[in-house]
C-alpha cells in the first residue's frame, strides 16, 4: 500500500503543478511544453490504474502528435508572447474565486459520496491490447467505423481550411508559370 500511495501522491503533485504552470506561464511555448509534461504524467497514472495500452496511446497521440501540432502552429504564427491584460476589469479575480468554489463543491461531493472505496486489484492482468481489440472490433464495431469517418472529415476539413486563395482546378493540372 505504502509505495503505491507515495507514487500516486508524487504523480498527482506533478500533474497539478504542470497544469498550473501551463495556466500561468506567459510564454506560449512554455505552456505547450508544460502541457506535454502533464500528458506524460497522466499516462503514468494510467499505468498505475492498469491500463498499459491506453497509457502508451496517450503518449503517442496526445503528447506525441497533438502537442507537436500545437508547437508547429505556435511557431508558425509567431504566437510566443501575446501581451496579457484583462479584457474586463475584475474578470480574473472573479474567475479565480468561482473556479475555487466549483472545485471545492466537486471535491466535497466526491468525498461525501465516493468515500474510501478501494478495490483490491489482483495480479491477474486486467487489460491488454488483445482484449481491447477484441471488444473494439466486436461490440463497438459501429463506433469504430464512425470514428474513421470522423477522421476523414477532419482531414478534409483541415486541408480545405488552409488552402488559401481559390485555385482553379486547371491551374492544378497545368500550373501557371
Amino acid at each position: 500500500m505504502f509505495p503505491g500511495m507515495i507514487l500516486f501522491i508524487f504523480l498527482a503533485l506533478v500533474v497539478i503543478a504542470s497544469s498550473l504552470a501551463m495556466l500561468f506561464s506567459r510564454n506560449t511555448i512554455y505552456a505547450a511544453l508544460f502541457l506535454a509534461m502533464n500528458f506524460v504524467t497522466v499516462a503514468l497514472l494510467y499505468l498505475l490504474l492498469g491500463a498499459p495500452f491506453i497509457a502508451l496511446v496517450q503518449v503517442t497521440v496526445y503528447a506525441g502528435s497533438i502537442m507537436v501540432l500545437f508547437l508547429f502552429v505556435i511557431m508558425m504564427l509567431g504566437a510566443e508572447n501575446i501581451p496579457g491584460g484583462e479584457s474586463l476589469p475584475g474578470h480574473r479575480v472573479l474567475a479565480l474565486i468561482l473556479g475555487a468554489v466549483f472545485l471545492l463543491e466537486l471535491a466535497m461531493m466526491i468525498a461525501v459520496k465516493g468515500g474510501l472505496f478501494q478495490a483490491s486489484m489482483s495480479e491477474v492482468e486486467f487489460s491488454n491490447p488483445a482484449l481491447l481489440g477484441e471488444m473494439l472490433f466486436t461490440r463497438y464495431q459501429l463506433l469504430f467505423l464512425v470514428t474513421s469517418v470522423i477522421l476523414l472529415a477532419a482531414t478534409v476539413g483541415a486541408v480545405l481550411l488552409t488552402r488559401g486563395d481559390k485555385v482553379k482546378s486547371r491551374d492544378l493540372v497545368h500550373p501557371k508559370e
Partner: protein
C-alpha cells in the same frame, strides 16, 4: 488500485478539469485556450480509466480510445481554423475576434 481510494483519483481529475476551465476563461491567446480544452478532455479520460479499473470493466478504456481519436480530429480542425483566422486578422488575440466576418 494499490490501495488508493477512488476519490483521490476523482479529486485529481476534477482539479485538472477546473484548471482547464480557468485556462479557457482567463487566457487571451486562442492557442492556450485550445490547450486548456485538451486538458479538460484529459481530466474526463482519467475519470473513465479510473472507473474502468475500479469496477474491472473494459468499457471505460474503449471510450477513452474514442475520446482521444475525436479530440485529435478536433485539434486538427481547430488549428486549421486558427491558421485561417491568422491569415486575415494577423493576430490570435481572442478579444479581436469579435465579429463573424472573416
Amino acid at each position: 488500485m494499490l490501495g488508493i481510494p477512488i476519490s483521490y483519483y476523482l479529486v485529481l481529475s476534477s482539479s485538472m478539469f477546473v484548471i482547464g476551465i480557468l485556462g479557457v476563461l482567463l487566457r487571451r491567446n486562442a492557442l492556450v485556450t485550445f490547450m486548456s480544452l485538451e486538458m479538460m478532455f484529459n481530466a474526463a479520460n482519467l475519470v473513465f480509466v479510473t472507473f474502468a479499473a475500479y469496477h474491472r470493466v473494459l468499457t471505460g478504456q474503449i471510450f477513452v480510445f474514442f475520446v482521444m481519436t475525436v479530440a485529435a480530429a478536433e485539434v486538427a480542425v481547430g488549428l486549421a481554423l486558427m491558421v485561417a483566422i491568422f491569415r486575415t486578422k494577423h493576430s490570435i488575440d481572442i478579444d479581436q475576434m469579435s465579429s463573424l466576418k472573416g
